[in-house]
Point group: C2
Chain length 157, copies 2
DNA sequence: CGCTTGCCTGGAGTGCGCTCCAAGGTTCTA
DNA sequence: TAGAACCTTGGAGCGCACTCCAGGCAAGCG
């Protein structure tokens, strides 16, 4: 087992399943007829159908449309939202906070200020994380160099 | 509750507790007399004593020294190791993989190649994550701008 | 000498983000 | 029209990384 760092962070929208049976639909349906089944959305986002249903249950999705028999029919709008949620997820934002943002978004234009503040917090955090990671990168570079020209240096790890 | 993104990623070594009762000891003990109690190490790393003991139990620490009565006495070496582990943790590497690395380190010089490969994998992953985060940053910038000059644009979220 | 504080152990508990199950209805393909 | 493949629900289960608990030993202080 090698260090598969991203194993716990499943692929999301940007991935668009380029692997087996690649059929990535960036402008997925031609026109206004945008009604996707849950498995289509799952394939497109890389999330499982379970997770999509769970997102809806916890309030992270803005009330998904249903067919006349009760099956979910996602729209391009929903896809856009999921793409954005995927970005937030990459930042490490807890789901509870994403739900909070989703609530604000559903509440309408009156919550612009609060939403902006939330995103600005998030942006600060993302910048901090990038800085941390670059720091970490420097440490890794140093250590890999050390292994490269294995001197009897004061390292032992 | 605002979006405290790093809430699930507790502070680690670089932090060095600059808050209340600040007493950050970068070169903590003057000389060879480096024997820290678990609570000193906890304060210095930002990890809990529980977590330090747990790290040792699972093999993430290389056998910590004990006092004559069985209490742990950490050395500067241990502090260096914990700092490095903190870096790995920031990358999102699963604990199991860090343990694997620790085992290799304990096994001696014969595992240099494998350790280097592991760190190179990790480095690739860190680079990818930085790229993702920069992508996310661009999305956040765009959205914050949108809130800034709130036009009736095609956004709704 | 008693009291407080800190440390020890094994094992149980917690919170998060999914992930899966069972039992049943629906839709598509041959 | 049969059968496979897909969808529905509430609720239970899981893996990770801690986090805490009970019960007990040890050290320092007035």
């Amino acid at each position: 087992m090698t260090a598969d760092i991203t194993a716990t962070v499943p692929p999301f929208a940007p991935t668009r399943r380029t692997d087996l049976c690649a059929e990535p639909p960036p402008p997925p349906r031609p026109d206004g007829q945008d009604r996707y089944t849950i498995s289509e959305v799952a394939a497109w986002t890389g999330l499982s159908a379970h997770t999509l249903r769970w997102y809806e249950r916890i309030g992270l999705m803005p009330h998904v449309d249903r067919s006349h028999t009760g099956q979910r029919r996602f729209t391009n709008r929903d896809l856009d939202w999921l793409t954005f949620v995927g970005k937030l997820r990459l930042t490490g934002m807890p789901v509870a906070d994403m739900v909070r943002y989703a609530e604000l978004a559903r509440a309408g234009a009156g919550t612009f200020e609060e939403r902006r503040a939330l995103l600005e917090d998030t942006r600060r955090n993302v910048r901090d994380r990038i800085a941390e990671l670059q720091d970490t990168l420097a440490v890794l570079d140093r250590k890999i160099d050390y292994y490269g020209c294995a001197l009897g240096a004061p390292e032992r790890d």
